[in-house]
């Protein structure tokens, strides 16, 4: 589900200025806004440890704060308001099963020599799969909308934000890079366009705890 959200963000922001090759080879994204050049880089082990410490600290802060619940509690509260997250997840899984069936059929449609008719049938099957993927995307968005204020999600956002602060540099006139933000407060008062891009690029650079569970 996370991957689908990131894909949607990419479509919203546009990626014409991105150098993915640079991000793969050097592990950094460079950003130019006006005359200023910035970069966001991959965190090292000690930076990740600092951010992890911040996540734990923030989680403790949120426990007991009105309006913040852990995911499992939030799911139960939402269900009382007739918003069924578990049902959304099972619908997502059902769609995945449908996609698997369509994938098998699409794979078997391949021939060494494909006629115009074969090509048309393949395109039709691809459209059917795209429609299922779009439904999955909608479920991801809906789920995110409701779950983004859970303690886990808020703490995760703080973790990512902390890494952004540690790993964003500005290029000086002599060509050297220095750290741009001192703390969360300076980030909050920073350039909005830059910050939006940083958050987007960070979603491609930094692993979230959920990603690591999948690995």
């Amino acid at each position: 589900m996370e991957e689908k959200m990131t894909q949607l963000m990419g479509e919203l922001f546009g990626e014409e200025e991105l150098s993915i090759e640079e991000a793969i080879v050097d592990g950094i994204f460079t950003i130019s806004i006006g005359e200023n050049n910035y970069r966001i880089r991959t965190p090292n082990f000690s930076e990740k440890r600092l951010a992890e410490k911040e996540r734990k600290k923030y989680t403790v802060e949120l426990i007991g704060t009105k309006g913040y619940e852990f995911e499992d509690v939030l799911i139960k509260s939402l269900k009382k308001k007739k918003i069924d997250i578990k049902k959304m997840e099972s619908e997502f899984e059902k769609l995945q099963e449908e996609i698997h069936i369509k994938w098998l059929s699409l794979a078997k449609m391949t021939k060494r020599e494909e006629s115009q008719e074969d090509k048309k049938a393949i395109e039709d099957r691809k459209i059917e799969i795209s429609q299922l993927l779009a439904k999955q995307m909608q479920i991801s968005i809906d789920k995110y909308k409701y779950m983004q204020y859970s303690i886990e999600s808020e703490a995760e956002q703080r973790y990512i934000l902390f890494l952004i602060i540690l790993c964003t540099d500005i290029k000086k006139k002599n060509g050297n890079y220095i750290r741009l933000y001192k703390d969360l407060d300076s980030f909050d008062h920073g350039d909005e366009e830059l910050n939006n891009r940083l958050v987007y690029y960070a979603s491609h650079l930094f692993f979230k705890s959920r990603d690591l569970k999948d690995v």
Partner: protein, 123 residues
Amino acid sequence: MYKEIRKLARDWKFQTLYIGNNKTLPFIQNKKHLNKLQFHFLYWLLRYNGLYETLSFGEEFLTEAVLNDEMRTDAYLYYAKIKNEQETMERILSDKKGKFNHKEIDMTAPEAFSFEMKKPDKK
């Protein structure tokens, strides 16, 4: 962005660099701290490398047109996974059958459960 990553991963430039360096990755600078993007890239680099090898064997349902189309590649990978799982299961079942074929035991017969207690060795 994920589309771009896959495009780069199947690109001959990176495929050739990967094969030409004995399947190592000298072009990645921060190997100790791989980021998410690099992880995805490496995943697809290896996947496409395997698929190009499979393509050269003339495998059924895999063509150049499939590799140039992400959705068709996903479909093929899923098909190959299922096929592989089925073949593994068939192999396991036929291995088990092979083991028991030479000595068919009637498990309903009382002899099947009778055995002699071994007397302790006298020292």
